[in-house]
């Protein structure tokens, strides 16, 4: 029964359209208390006092808890995947407006919320730093001492430093960029910026901790259940098996829900009061949880007289906010590809993760790569224009092909960069005549492509269980947050064991039951867990054959599993458990050169082509066509894969045209869906989505991850198209009508006055 490349609906489709799907949001437990947070009102300050008296006296309040209370329970109450820098509730200092300072517990969430507003705190205000480039100078220090975690093998080299805001700096030196610049025919440099924006899953962050019998169960809307178990166990000094983490479906994640978010808080609160505690953020509070890095990217290229890029230098500054979260990994991993999908012999990359007094930044659908592609594809387009070469021809001339080493030294393999570019060029009709508009409505076209290294080295473990009637269970800790991973894995199991994917029971993550997985992030699941699932299913198949032999059935015959069990056990009894773990090889980058010949087990490739119409009187940009293409290897479920491509592109459309967190004195001034504009149904341009013909030979049945690839090309393709239409270059996201109008007026010699 062929289960691969089958367009089946998601396994949980029925429960989702009927409103019955299980989310942590829905869960209430007997005796449960609701926690509401009192948050910092200053961006940087020493805590002088916290007055909780009125809140404690408020009728219906069960307890009020501060950082000092948590310290009584956990002497070192700091968590984080890269640094143990984030206190469960603020201790000594606050480092951003909105940082949790105290929690109020009550049976009624309204009571807890009211009481939280009765808390006040006094601070000795300290100077604050918001800008990533300013943070490079050690004038205002967000942290006095850095606290590296070393949880992940590839972050082992992180060392705590003093007197700096730089959480991690990654440097790559390939060839001799300085020498190549000196010999280049032209050297062209630009600076690009991106804004702080955020994920905003519609099921806001929510977690419940349930204490009992020396153990703790955490129900949470989280993408990394195995990591949460390990980190909570570490905080309490417990073995892993005293912490159980259960994750039902997620109402969106996009990277917001990776690593520990509310889990350490609910765990500490629940242990302190010995009752179940639920903390559910509001939409507004998500603006104080985790965001996407604002960046400044200085990029410089040297080209020879043939239009070949001979050198490229990249300096990237990542605005990580007050706590490192996974920012150091973003800084390093995205650093590998900062020079773009081009074959350049001399490359230097300097990538810096910086602490500032803003809401922390983490990974958002691309682990920093969309910020990089924005810069290098805008830059690449500008070079082509300056040289008078067609932007597509210029890219083709310099494209990184399979078999050639990428900047890090890793040789490209199964990366359909050329195919993605070709698909975009063909669909948009690049060589065909194009209506460029007239009068105040001008049209233009733009193309951009990007690529990404996967996260490595990471481990996935899967268990496949065949019951005595032949029905099959799959146990895995991958979290299905809408990307369709449960369905894809069921198809893989079905293919190996010759059962229908719809008949495979996929067990939701529950760390007491489902085995270790590094996390559902970075588009890693289909490749890593997909491989583990395939191997586990093959293990089960081999064990079934062994059971048949044991039962005395003749070799080589194809008995249904139910008959094998019956023959072996005399009745409908027993089961067969197949298991496998998958961890691809990896070589950490050299400390001196930042190079490694094995930085990733696979490459993601994505791009976009757009046609835009710019109103020169208002600066308004209308997207006439948005074409997305990506290499996902051989898709397991092409229908679901296409919706991943399309959804990622639309999300990036929001980050390109409208989404931005506005800060005033460190305070977010637009923390609501009313003032922070995400794409609605009226904002969707005519779209085409293409999965190019490709194969990831090391992937399960030729497949690989896709969740992020649709984000790569959208922003620079739009900026390139605007340039094509009206001759102005936007270098900072988001591209608002005002930004375009200002640029048009500057070009016309009549700049608009500043606000």
């Amino acid at each position: 029964m062929n289960q691969i490349a089958r367009d089946i609906p998601r396994l949980e489709a029925r429960s989702k359209v009927s409103g019955r799907a299980d989310y942590t949001h829905n869960l209430r437990l007997p005796g449960m208390l609701y926690g509401k947070l009192f948050r910092a009102t200053v961006p940087h300050g020493r805590i002088l006092s916290i007055d909780t008296q009125a809140a404690r006296a408020h009728p219906g309040v069960y307890r009020v808890i501060t950082g000092e209370d948590i310290k009584q329970l956990i002497p070192e109450p700091y968590y984080g995947p890269a640094f143990h820098d984030q206190p469960i509730l603020a201790l000594d200092k606050v480092r951003y407006v909105g940082e949790p300072v105290a929690a109020v517990l009550a049976s009624d969430p309204h009571v807890a919320e009211q009481a939280a507003q009765m808390i006040s705190a006094e601070y000795e205000e300290l100077p604050a730093v918001y800008d990533e480039v300013e943070a490079m100078a050690p004038k205002t220090l967000v942290h006095d001492v850095l606290r590296p975690a070393g949880t992940f093998a590839d972050l082992k080299h992180l060392q705590g430093r003093k007197g700096t805001n730089i959480a991690l700096d990654y440097h790559l030196r390939r060839g001799d960029a300085e020498k190549a610049f000196a010999g280049a025919a032209r050297v062209i440099a630009h600076t690009f910026k991106t804004q702080q924006c955020l994920h905003l899953p519609f099921e806001p962050h929510v977690a419940i901790a349930e204490p009992g019998d020396g153990r703790l169960t955490i129900h949470t809307s989280n993408q990394t259940p195995s990591f949460v178990r390990i980190e909570i166990a570490r905080l309490f000094g417990w073995p892993e098996n005293r912490v159980r983490v259960k994750v039902p479906y997620l109402g969106g994640g996009y990277g917001a829900k990776v690593y520990v978010k509310l889990e350490a808080l609910v765990a500490a609160l629940a242990i302190l009061v010995r009752r179940p505690v639920k903390v559910a953020l509001t939409m507004e509070e998500q603006f104080y949880m985790i965001t996407k890095h604002a960046t400044t990217f200085r990029i410089k290229s040297g080209v020879d007289t043939d239009g070949r890029i001979v050198a490229r230098a990249c300096e990237v500054f990542w605005n990580g906010g007050a706590y490192a979260d996974i920012g150091p990994r973003v800084t390093q991993k995205s650093g590998f590809t900062a020079a773009g999908p081009y074959d350049i012999d001399n490359v230097s990359i300097d990538s810096y993760a910086l602490y500032t007094n803003r809401t922390p930044a983490g990974a958002l659908r691309g682990f920093g790569v969309p910020q990089l592609v924005w810069a290098y594809e805008s830059h690449t387009d500008l070079i082509a224009r300056e040289l008078g070469i067609d932007p597509v021809e210029f890219r083709r001339k310099n494209l990184l092909r399979d078999g050639r080493p990428q900047a890090s030294g890793t040789v490209m393999q199964d990366a359909a960069i050329g195919e993605v570019l070709d698909a975009l060029v063909a669909r948009v009709g690049w060589s065909k005549p194009f209506d460029r508009g007239t009068g105040t409505l001008r049209r233009g076209r733009g193309i951009a492509i990007g690529f990404k290294a996967s996260i490595s080295p990471t481990t996935s473990v899967a268990i496949v269980n065949v019951s005595a009637d032949g029905s099959v269970y799959l146990y895995k800790s991958t979290v299905d947050m809408g990307q369709g991973s449960d369905t894809a894995f069921a198809q893989i199991v079905g293919e190996v064991l010759d059962v229908k994917a719809e008949d495979v029971r996929v067990v939701a993550p529950d760390t007491d039951v489902t085995p270790y997985d590094m996390g559902t992030l970075g588009s890693r699941s289909l490749f890593h867990m997909g491989n583990a699932v395939r191997l586990a299913a093959e293990d089960a198949r081999a064990k079934l054959r062994a059971l048949a032999t044991e039962a005395g059935l003749p070799e080589g015959t194809n008995y249904p599993p139910a008959e094998i069990f019956k023959k072996r056990y005399g009745m409908q009894a027993g089961n067969v458990v197949g298991t496998a773990s998958y961890v691809p090889s990896y070589k950490p980058p050299d400390a001196q050169t930042g190079m490694s010949d094995n930085v990733t087990p696979f490459w993601m490739v994505g791009g976009a082509a757009v046609e835009v119409e710019v109103d020169t009187e208002t600066g308004h940009v209308r997207i006439l066509r948005l074409i997305n293409a990506a290499d996902c290897g051989k898709p397991i479920n092409p229908g679901v894969a296409r919706t991943q491509l399309s959804g990622a592109a639309i999300m990036q459309l929001g980050f390109t045209l409208s989404e931005a967190m506005h800060l005033d004195g460190g305070q977010v001034t637009n923390a609501s869906l009313a003032d922070y504009k995400i794409p609605g149904i009226g904002d969707i341009p005519p779209m085409e989505n293409e999965l190019v013909a490709a194969e990831q030979h090391s992937g399960p049945f030729g497949a690989k991850g896709l969740g992020e690839s649709g984000t790569f090309g959208v922003s620079p393709a739009i900026a390139n198209a605007i340039h094509d239409a009206v001759g102005v270059r936007i270098t900072e996201l988001p591209i608002t009508a005002e930004a375009v109008l200002r640029a048009l007026r500057v070009k016309a010699g009549h700049p608009l006055e500043d606000e």
């Binding site: 409103g19 829905n26 009624d108 994920h199 905003l200 969106g252 809408g482 869906l673 009313a674 149904i681």
Partner: protein
């Protein structure tokens, strides 16, 4: 906090009674009946995740006080397959793959029923206009438009 008030209303076809405080919204009331298909998300009536039908009109449950339900007829997404069979719209959403995480889906499904009642054969423009108050962060919008058209054909 003020004391509870007793209200009587029809919920998904059944007459029911509840005692509820005046500051609570309709979503909190529905949760007492173990109905979780309508979900409070943005809390400002902007995202449509909390869509509920009150006397056959779509309202944002997060902005609708529970006590206002007194004497009203309330329908949630759960009434659509009360007889065990999915509605045409629900089937079309599955066929079109018109959701990812599914959190906003009940709101879109209820709104699609409303639309098709008024416009059995809606244009793309009708669909876009009708769903201007429903947001989907996974951005399944193209598939949602496709689903509504499929449902229109099947109706």
């Amino acid at each position: 906090m003020t004391s509870a008030r007793t209200i009587n209303f029809t919920l998904n076809g059944q007459p029911v009674t509840a005692a509820i405080e005046p500051h609570r919204n309709l979503i909190e009331l529905l949760q007492r009946f173990d109905l979780f298909g309508a979900r409070e998300s943005c809390g400002q009536g902007l995202c449509g995740c909390c869509t509920v039908l009150v006397d056959d009109k779509a309202v944002s449950g997060c902005l609708y006080f529970a006590v206002w339900a007194d004497g009203k007829t309330i329908a949630t997404v759960e009434h659509l397959d009360a007889d065990g069979a999915l509605s045409n719209v629900q089937q079309a959403f599955i066929a079109a793959g018109a959701f990812q995480c599914g959190f906003c889906t009940p709101g879109f499904v209820l709104m699609a029923h409303q639309l098709l009642k008024e416009h059995p054969n809606p244009s793309d423009e009708d669909i876009r206009h009708h769903f201007s108050g429903n947001l989907c962060r996974c951005a399944a919008y193209p598939e949602i438009i496709d689903a509504v058209k499929r449902a229109a054909k099947a109706t």
